[in-house]
């Protein structure tokens, strides 16, 4: 993403060693302007990952592995009454299309697959490979 004008500091005010803090206020988890949540690279994406809830086993591998923290989760209780993160979707404002999530997804038929950017997600889900 092109840098917004107000972020363009001068040579004497750049971040020391280009070291970027995640938080402006770590105590209260206030994200800094450099946090990838605020400074996204979604415009790098040429293909997008599509998430298939039907196949997902909520192992959370994708959630852990995604370099841009794209996975949307909901807190649910599992069968034994324990808290669990349920994957509910992808934040396309953050996703750069690296396909790491697809790579790590362990289900026999992947619960995440890359599709062309222009394709609707419903159409992508229709084209999902089936068990033979």
């Amino acid at each position: 993403m092109a840098t917004p004008k107000e972020m363009l500091t001068t040579w004497d005010e750049v971040q020391f060693g280009a070291v970027l803090p995640a938080f402006e206020d770590p105590e209260h988890k206030k994200r800094s302007k450099f946090h990838s949540y605020n400074y996204t690279v979604a415009d790098w994406r040429v293909e997008k990952p599509v998430f298939n809830r039907e196949l997902c086993i909520d192992c959370d591998f994708c959630w852990v592995s995604c370099p841009d923290s794209c996975f949307l989760v909901e807190e649910v209780l599992n069968k034994r009454g324990k808290k669990q993160a349920k994957i509910v979707g992808i934040n396309y404002n953050l996703c750069k299309g690296c396909a790491v999530c697809v790579e790590v997804c362990p289900t026999p038929i992947k619960s995440l697959l890359m599709f062309p950017e222009y394709m609707d997600n419903e159409e992508a889900l229709k084209q999902w490979p089936k068990k033979d």
């Binding site: 840098t3 040579w11 750049v14 020391f16 060693g17 970027l20 995640a22 938080f23």
Partner: protein, 406 residues
């Protein structure tokens, strides 16, 4: 707690042992290295100190020099005091990561034992590796003997870690001529050395997990220039800190270091500019030449980067003719020290000097008092004539028909 190493007031150490003791006394947290001749004993001695309980830090075995410097970058970003050692091909393999270290402003100390670069393969001393690292954004200090290798390695931590600098530093010594030549070294006791170096202050440590930071960010055309300019400024202004550290070191030890060293330059008509162990040989040559009536002096930049161009020009302002001696294959132009010297003089309005270039000592080729005396005599011819009557670039102690360029 690391054990105290009992040191005598005078020890007999070669340059490698001297550097290894300096690393030990600085209580480095992490040394990651891939040993290479002639710097191998630095790493070997250091790991022996560690095995014997004289070091508290970690020694990381890696599979290459690229990995060694990468591990150093990681450890320094994590928040530790970090050091390594290398030479020649190892240095060459590290180069990519040298730029990472300086760009991330990590004050790693690397003790370099200078050696030629292949091909053909050669394990002996010249300055090819130091010249290769010239633009990598590190401070490069040059030691001419084991005592200086020890002293400058201690100073390197202070300089690099200073708030106003925060840049990596190499201390250079000539392969074998310094690294494997045992001489008397007067070390500091462990506690005094550590007091001089001081406790390490981490800046933006990655191990501060409450405040996560990104190291190695990408900066494209809208950022890169500003970052590089900022980094360059820190390097350009570092000589002030170098001077302060040298002054403090003098107070502690009585041993004085300067941004530019010189010998009998005050009344000289002829000057040689050179770095490394040949400086000491040249001192003897100067004394002999003065017996012949040639008013000659020596100048040596103590740092190759940042280059002390104003101080160098100041030293040379009254001489008539200068020879700059480069211990590195010039490969297609005049030697780097020649270029720096010429530029420094021009920049300070002393463009009227006659400057010639000599290449010497490649791959450990012997350079004797007699060879340097010959250079002094030739340079004196230029001084007497008031113009250049010798070749622009000559080669010292090269076998075969005379080779020179104009």
């Amino acid at each position: 707690m690391a054990l105290k190493y009992e040191l005598k007031q005078k020890e007999v150490w070669d340059g490698n042992m001297a550097a290894a003791h300096a690393l030990r006394q600085a209580q480095v947290d992490v040394v990651a290295a891939y040993p290479i001749t002639p710097s191998t004993p630095i790493v070997q001695n250091y790991s022996q100190f560690l095995a014997d309980g004289y070091v508290d830090g970690e020694f990381v075995m890696v599979e290459s020099e690229h990995s060694a410097m990468s591990a150093c970058v990681g450890a320094a970003a994590a928040g530790g005091r970090v050091a390594t050692a290398t030479s020649s091909q190892g240095y060459a393999l590290m180069v990519e990561v040298l730029y990472q270290a300086s760009g991330m402003r990590l004050p790693i100390v690397m003790t370099v034992v200078n050696r030629a670069l292949a091909s053909p393969l050669n394990i002996h001393g010249d300055h090819s590796d130091m010249y290769l690292g010239r633009d990598a954004g590190w401070i490069h200090l040059v030691a001419n003997n084991p005592q200086e290798a020890y002293d400058l390695t201690l100073c390197a931590f202070r300089i690099g870690e200073d708030e106003r600098v925060r840049l990596p530093v190499t201390t250079n010594q000539d392969g074998f001529l310094v690294s494997h030549t045992a001489q008397v070294v007067e070390p500091l006791q462990d506690e005094d050395a550590y007091k001089f170096v001081g406790e390490y202050k981490a800046k933006n440590p990655m191990l501060d997990t409450k405040n996560p930071v990104t190291y190695g960010a990408q900066t494209e055309e809208e950022w890169h220039f500003e970052h590089k300019a900022n980094q360059h400024k820190a390097l350009m202004e570092s000589p002030k800190v170098v001077k302060e550290v040298f002054d403090e070191f003098e107070k502690l030890t009585g041993r004085k270091y300067n941004l530019v060293e010189s010998y009998k330059i005050e009344d000289a008509d002829v000057a040689l500019v050179l770095m490394g162990s040949a400086y000491e040989t040249a001192i003897l040559a100067v004394d002999k030449a003065r017996e012949e009536g040639i008013k000659v002096g020596l100048v040596m930049p103590r740092m190759f980067r940042p280059f002390p161009y104003n101080e160098l020009a100041e030293k040379l302002k009254n001489v008539k003719a200068i020879a700059a001696l480069d211990r590195s294959a010039p490969m297609g132009t005049t030697g780097a020290l020649y270029n720096e010297t010429a530029g420094a003089l021009m920049a300070n309005g002393y463009g009227d000097k006659i400057i010639t270039n000599y290449i010497y000592g490649l791959g450990g080729r012997d350079t004797t008092v007699e060879h340097i005396l010959e250079v002094i005599r030739e340079t004196n011819e230029n001084a007497k004539a008031g113009k250049r009557v010798t070749d622009l670039q000559g080669f010292i102690n090269l076998r075969g028909p005379k080779l020179s360029f104009n």
